[in-house]
Symmetry: C2
Amino acid sequence: MAKPSPNKTSKQKSQSPHGTSDDESARGRLLNAATHLFCKNGINATGIDAIIAEAGTAKTTLYKLFGSKTNLVNAVLESEGKQWREWFIGAMEEGGGDAQAKLTRIFPALKSWFAEERFYGCPFINAVGEHDKDAKQFRSIAMKHKKIVLGHIEKLAGELGSNDPVVLAHQLGLLIDGAIVAAMVSRDPGVADTAALTAGPLLSQSKPKKKRAADQLEAV
Amino acid sequence: MAKPSPNKTSKQKSQSPHGTSDDESARGRLLNAATHLFCKNGINATGIDAIIAEAGTAKTTLYKLFGSKTNLVNAVLESEGKQWREWFIGAMEEGGGDAQAKLTRIFPALKSWFAEERFYGCPFINAVGEHDKDAKQFRSIAMKHKKIVLGHIEKLAGELGSNDPVVLAHQLGLLIDGAIVAAMVSRDPGVADTAALTAGPLLSQSKPKKKRAADQLEAV
DNA sequence: AAGGAAACAGACCGTTCGGTATCCTACCGA
DNA sequence: TCGGTAGGATACCGAACGGTCTGTTTCCTT
């Protein structure tokens, strides 16, 4: 939990799901500033000038380091996604216990994220929402991110003994997404409690053999 | 079930949750074009010129009728929200049956929405996501919309005999939001089936007296 | 001490943005 | 015949956009 040492190479567990690395190079400052502004105000609403003002760099530096705004956006999403996943998976894994214990930590972890002053929703969902929905660009990035997260949940769901880990992971994914957007809109971290309440039975009743999930689907 | 008439033109149950009213006046065409482009490409990414080009009107007409882009955005959200709610509530209510039957229609209805060619996610969620998250403007509009929807679900949850209709409505709301954003990102209407699968037990097991929801929360 | 890379400042480019002004056309009821 | 209204066309405005340019400062290396 407590973490020593510097950045870059050292493996540190983040306390926070995002974006304030202590990288004080121009690149790091630009990435931090762009992350903050893109997430807070939206990508299209954030101009280059605002980013360099917050980063305290020159415009030249930005274009030397990233080449274009598009590249900067991609770099932000990549680093932010990586940091978020490390935080999220870490929050499940740290503290040990069985799969159920780990999966039960999902929504308390999200709740603490929602309560942060700089919680602005999911950058991937927001990025998709403010761009062409027929284009694959952001949707594929978002799906790649989601796939990694759900993959880990699916693995835990398997350890849990679920008879359909894929479906269970998707169910939890739905609750996660729902909680994130509801928290973004309402600014109420308490939505995570509702999500936890909904997820609870899924995690405890998934061991006993009942009808298979796919069959239940047919019944609807 | 079919209710006649009150407003404006003829009152017909919409087959579709959005935006293509048959109003062929300049105002109607502008509203349709703006709705389509805002939802498809994002509000900030959509310029006035693109809107008037799709509407086939002059820029003057837009500003004579709406005054500003901001006003146009608000008009779009208002009309779109109203149409969506009428469609959604209609989809639950039409066909009758008890509260459980009505609530069970939620996700099949959403699925048919997700499958539409012009499904671009929830305009309110997307609008919040691409603007300042510290500002109330879009968040309050979105919450107002959501409150009406959840209010209706809550009423049905009460009829269902749920011992905590408010919590049940919020649980369903979470699944609805999650399904909408997941469908927007993945373009897979099937997420509605996963949501239905998750909601099913909530609707059937809510009658028997168990621990109160709030108590379960404490247990987490 | 000298050199060079990295970052600085900021003027500047062409384009597009939201928005305004002017003038024109068509229709419609009195 | 008339005037009013609704809408169309187009030129234009200042500001902001993403991006480039020239030139200066800082600092590490040798």
